[in-house]
């Protein structure tokens, strides 16, 4: 019995939302309420997960486990940004400037670091993957789109060249569409398994 209750709750929520989306107006009000509940519960799940993260690092500090210095850094920055938001308010511009001054350089530098790491990875593509139809077209396609991204060919303003470039820029649509349809079918069937109780992400 304990195992079937979660399955019934998941199936009930899913079937109600699908019915409300198909029937439209009569259930629109209730659908909004259920969506509101889901947003509140998802927000609470994130808060609980953040609390678990903080408790874990607190335990590391108390136990003096290796790497507890980083736990101190994490907890102190968390407290500063969380208490600062509650004291000054989340929309306070001075507080937002401090958050931006820390997050922006860190995230931009991480993405910039990804560019440097991709340069090194690009050298090894063929050594690690070997020659295959996929890797060969991947390499040639990457070279072609790098040249197009330079913008030098477009600047020549040669009509034929521009037409070829426009056509090349639409060519990846075919592979992307096939990928989207394939992944869509896979995700659709996984969603149906969750609704039917075949896939129970919460455990057994």
């Amino acid at each position: 019995m304990k195992k079937t209750i979660p399955i019934l709750v998941a199936a009930a929520a899913a079937l109600f939302i699908l019915a409300a989306l198909i029937l439209g107006e009569p259930l629109a009000g209730w659908l909004e309420i259920v969506l509101n509940w889901a947003v509140i519960v998802a927000s609470a799940a994130l808060l609980v997960a953040i609390a678990t993260l903080i408790l874990t690092h607190l335990r590391n500090i108390v136990r003096g486990k290796r790497g507890f210095i980083f736990s101190i850094i994490l907890i102190s920055t968390f407290l500063v940004s969380f208490i600062g938001a509650l004291v000054f308010g989340v929309d306070n511009s001075a507080y937002l400037r401090w958050v931006a001054a820390i997050q922006l350089p860190l995230e931009t530098s991480l993405l910039g670091l990804a560019a440097l790491v991709m340069t090194a990875a690009a050298l090894q593509i063929f050594r690690s993957r070997g020659w295959s139809l996929l890797t060969l077209t991947f390499g040639i396609s990457a070279l072609v789109f790098l040249v197009i991204s330079l913008g030098l060919l477009q600047a020549l303003n040669i009509p034929v060249l521009t037409t070829v470039i426009n056509y090349l820029q639409r060519l990846p649509m075919i592979g992307a569409r096939g990928l989207l349809i394939g992944i869509g079918i896979g995700a659709l069937l996984m969603g149906l398994r969750v609704v039917l109780g075949l896939e129970r992400p919460w455990g057994e």
């Binding site: 929309d91 511009s93 991204s149």
Partner: protein, 612 residues
């Protein structure tokens, strides 16, 4: 690591079954065989054959026949070395001093106990001509060197406290009883007479390259202080019996109490670098009696050897043997120290080469970009034509009139904010000048402060940004919100149908698909215009082709052309020269990758051809 004889792959020395092919590794594990091989490594330059040769020359011709008979006999005899000793002629023993006889006896036992591989080496020597012997020795020495290296690396690994499932009922572990069966009770102590190791055990502890934490440094200082106390003379002088010298060098047991050992998570350390811990040997003193029984801690033999110095030639041979036995004792001590512990995790080797070429290529790209940013002046933007989706978006923007409502949705991360600001700022400036009514909405917490930065970059008056929580749930609720007063929708955001254009600023596939899948079906003519990061261009093409988007512009190049088409100046922070230089570096690297792969293939083909 021991090499599996069946598939040739590496396995842990203590492994009884090869991880890779599952074959049994029983015969490689025999204590006797392992000991002698490691003992022989002490002198890589003096090969086994020379050593044995030197003993043969010392002894009289009569021994020659007996030994050669023995050696051929032994090749097929199982490893019981004891019987071959009994055949030694008695007179030969009386002439030589007692201690030298004992060394020779030991040398013979070394030879008998050399285990299957050495015997094969000897039978190979007998079968081959003189010129092949050097190569065989060399391979043999290398192989032993590898085993020695592995044994040393095993010594360094941090032992993981594990649930002790290997202890038998009476507390004597299974494998220790096996060791005893291999050594008959009646053995006298000298065979394992022990000398303290020439190099103190501490030396094997590689100083950590990155001693970040205080705990690791204390441990290192502790072991260094022990090394200083044991001065080289003391070690070389062999005044201390082996067991005490070794136990003195052993580190104090870890601060962890026994209780904590049961919690594997405590061992979890997310520290950087490869902090080595000395092997826990809190149990060493309890094993002194066992070592006594096994003859490891026999003090007398060690002292005895000291008192009668032999001639320099024999002395060096003797020291060779003493050092070899020292290794034996050290390995056995480590095995005993490991008793009841799970297989220590093999330290994941840091392959140094890969970080280097990443550093070189990364530094090269940084240098090129810095040089272009500093020295190369910015180019005058040229008139080029945008692809169709961007042209379609411009037409939609052109159709907007004063007072039209436009919902600007920010769903990008701080990392891609420079790119999105370069694309969106000119468009927002154009909409503001047209008198369109802009409303800002975000589904990310960071969107609240990114919106302020975007408005400052676009030089438009800042206004409040609404936060729509719930991701795809919030977007669906906003799309279904026909009366405009929903609990899920933030105040001020109206029914989506009332907006002329919903301008999405995106850098992630999930967020783009949310608006297309959850809001798109509920909006009549497609009102979704997208300004996206260049990473999403290929994703947006099928949706635009299917008529689900009014238009889109992706990447700084299309953003700049769109700004020109709208007669808006692109942001000053949009250098195109540096961007082009970066793309050229990537083109060069990919071409280099193709060439190096082709070259590697051709050299592989050449190396195969001569053999075939």
């Amino acid at each position: 690591m021991i090499l599996c004889p069946h598939c040739g792959k590496e396995n842990l020395p203590q492994a009884t079954r090869c991880v890779h092919c599952g074959e049994d590794l029983e015969e490689l594990f025999r204590i006797e065989g392992m000991e002698d091989n490691s003992a022989l490594q002490e002198e890589p330059d003096i090969s086994v054959a020379d050593l044995l040769e030197s003993f043969r020359n010392d002894s009289s011709p009569k021994d020659e026949e007996t030994r050669s008979a023995d050696s051929t006999g032994q090749a097929y005899v199982s490893d019981s070395g004891a019987e071959s000793n009994a055949e030694m002629p008695a007179e030969e023993e009386e002439q030589a001093p007692e201690w030298l006889a004992r060394i020779r006896k030991r040398a013979q036992q070394e030879e008998d106990a050399a285990g299957e591989l050495t015997r094969k080496g000897n039978s190979l020597d007998a079968a081959r001509s003189e010129d092949h012997r050097g190569r065989v020795d060399e391979e043999f020495a290398n192989w032993i060197g590898r085993i020695r290296e592995n044994a040393r690396r095993e010594n360094l690994l941090m032992p993981k406290p594990a649930i002790n499932s290997a202890a038998s009922e009476e507390g004597v572990p299974e494998w220790l009883r096996k060791v005893r069966e291999l050594q008959p009770e009646a053995e006298d102590g000298e065979q394992f007479a022990e000398e303290p190791a020439e190099e103190p055990a501490v030396e094997e502890v590689e100083p950590e390259e990155e001693q970040g934490e205080a705990a690791a440094q204390d441990q290192a200082q502790e072991t260094e202080s022990v090394v200083e106390q044991t001065s080289p003379e003391e070690i070389l002088g062999d005044t201390e019996p082996a067991a005490e010298a070794v136990s003195e060098l052993e580190p104090e047991p870890e601060a962890e109490s026994a209780g904590e050992k049961a919690q594997p998570a405590d061992e979890e350390d997310s520290d950087s670098g490869d902090a080595e811990e000395l092997p826990e040997s809190a149990a060493a003193p309890q094993f002194a009696p066992v070592l006594e029984e096994l003859g490891l801690a026999a003090d007398g033999a060690a002292l005895e050897l000291d008192e009668k110095p032999a001639s320099s030639e024999e002395l060096s041979a003797d020291l060779l043997l003493l050092r070899r036995q020292k290794e034996n004792a050290q390995i056995l001590m480590n095995l005993i120290g490991e008793e009841g512990r799970g297989i220590p995790p093999a330290k994941t080797q840091r392959v140094s080469g890969r970080g280097l070429y990443r550093l070189i290529l990364g530094a090269f790209l940084l240098l090129v970009l810095a040089a272009v940013l500093v020295f190369v002046p910015e180019a005058k933007p040229k008139q080029i034509e945008n692809p169709a989706p961007a042209v379609a978006l411009k037409d939609v923007l052109d159709r907007l009139a004063s007072g039209d409502k436009v919902l600007v949705v920010l769903e990008y991360q701080a990392a891609t904010s420079p790119e999105l600001e370069q694309i969106a700022a000119p468009v927002l400036r154009e909409l503001e000048t047209r008198g369109a009514e802009l409303q800002f909405l975000t589904t990310h917490p960071n969107g609240l402060w990114l919106a302020d930065a975007l408005m400052r970059a676009a030089e438009i008056p800042t206004r409040e940004t609404a936060f729509l929580a719930g991701g795809r749930l919030g977007v669906l609720a906003a799309a279904l919100n026909s009366e405009g007063n929903s609990a899920v929708i933030p105040a001020g955001i109206e029914e989506l149908q009332k907006y002329e254009l919903i301008l999405l600023l995106e850098d992630s596939q999930t967020d783009i698909q949310n608006w297309i899948e959850q809001a798109g079906p509920w909006l009549s003519a497609s009102k979704l215009g997208v300004l996206a990061s260049s990473q999403n261009e290929a994703l947006l093409l099928p949706y635009y082709d299917a008529g689900q988007l009014a238009g889109f512009a992706a990447g700084t190049l299309q953003g700049r052309v769109l700004a020109q088409a709208l007669d808006q100046a692109p942001l000053t922070s949009a250098p195109s020269r540096a961007f082009q230089a970066g793309l050229l570096v990537m083109i060069a690297v990919i071409l280099l990758g193709i060439l190096s792969k082709a070259e590697a293939d051709s050299s592989a083909r050449h190396s195969k051809e001569p053999e075939a």
